[in-house]
Subunit: 245 residues, 2 copies
């Protein structure tokens, strides 16, 4: 619980390598996550070599931490292994569809969070890379992912060389609904976002970005409709190409 | 780490209720998970009332544990709240697309795994319900989920009334690849699945199901092509209806 509550994303790492035994302990912890029907339809690709890390760094929008972290772990939805097993055992796999992709993605993401927490409990720092789904096609090429395999998230891992504060969160009642979903009234939105909007960090961002509201920084700069539409098409193309549509 | 390694799914619960303070502690732990750009595009619906639990039980293929667990938690990809905020702040949200759905689903799933582990660390038992994505449309109706919200997984939660053994897993080298993906040769598949196939439980399942191989139990009985195709169409329909396609 302490590990969960103290999570902060780490983007600066010491040069110190991660011992293979510790790495295996963390990966083993990953495998203990719940998985649909115990099919274990995911794979974990652990990249440490400089040349491959550099290729991944390019794919992940050249974010510094990808090159500087000693270990980059790509978590993949993977029906390839399961399909091969079925075919070798006189069974006809029916997993070339969207539901199967999503089932495998859930497996991979629960494993990733176990790996993140296991790493943090051993004093390592982690950061998730959201760019994984944007750049799935490049990552497939770099890591030789066969049909049936799609990368869904990535963790960079290493010994922290910074100690940032906890990230702000919306109040608990912003994200929790009791019994059923209660839709938000305009005054709910105002009050749930009030603390976030009054933060010093927000004021600074508004000035730097020359925007009137924090929401505009998200819609106009960080996560634009244009990018989202382009990345959606790319990701749906990847699902088709990898045999899930 | 101990909590992670000792995870087993619990399907039988004591009648003992979960204290509201403990529940909030667990949910708070959920909110500490990493979230894309700190957008927190997920919601958690906590259902405890008998009538609603019964409706959810019907949706989740009448699995006993849904009715008997004191708490059922539905984790949703949720851009509704964020979109409302944008619109109230003179910002034009561009999140009505597949990438945004998947981004929000990742948020929801990392939160779910934090909640699962936090619960287990407080001596509660949990089980994930894979039926959530199959029956998303019914769940949307039961829980009044508005446009922009899609349920992606569910946890049942309570004090365990059973202590099952750890579930078997494939060997670590079945799911981990170093540097790049190394595709499996026929002999790899044989050796990686050997232990699982020789288990007493497997022999028993083959007899009960009158099948030649364990893989056939998956393809012919548990996760059939027919079901997967039907549930894929339903899920893609839900994504469209909820404004993500």
């Amino acid at each position: 619980m302490q590990t969960i509550l103290e999570h902060r994303s780490i983007r600066k790492f010491k040069e110190q390598a991660i011992d293979q035994k510790i790495l295996e302990q963390i990966l083993q912890a990953g495998t203990r996550a719940s998985t649909t029907g115990n099919m274990q339809v995911y794979s974990i690709v652990v990249t440490q070599g400089e040349a491959l890390k550099e290729a991944l760094w390019r794919a992940h929008f050249k974010q510094d931490m990808v090159k500087k972290a000693p270990v980059v772990i790509t978590f993949c939805a993977d029906f390839n292994r399961f399909n091969l097993w079925c075919k070798q055992r006189k069974a006809d796999p029916g997993y070339d569809n969207f539901l199967s992709f999503f089932t495998a993605a859930i497996d991979a993401l629960l494993v990733a969070q176990n790996v993140a927490l296991a790493a943090e409990s051993l004093n390592l720092g982690i950061c998730y890379l959201g760019t994984t789904t944007y750049m799935a096609e490049s990552i497939i090429t770099i890591l030789d992912l066969p049909k049936g395999v799609v990368p869904v998230t990535t963790l960079v891992l290493g010994y922290p060389d910074e100690k940032p504060g906890l990230t702000d969160r919306l109040p608990l009642n912003a994200v929790v609904h009791y019994e059923k979903y209660r839709d938000y009234l305009p005054e709910d939105i105002d009050s749930l976002y009030a603390e976030k909007e009054s933060m010093e960090l927000t004021k600074q961002l508004l000035k730097e970005n020359d925007k009137e509201t924090l929401a505009q920084i998200f819609t106009d700069n960080r996560y634009t409709k244009k990018d989202n539409v382009a990345f959606s098409q790319a990701l749906l193309g990847v699902l088709k190409k990898q045999g899930f549509m």
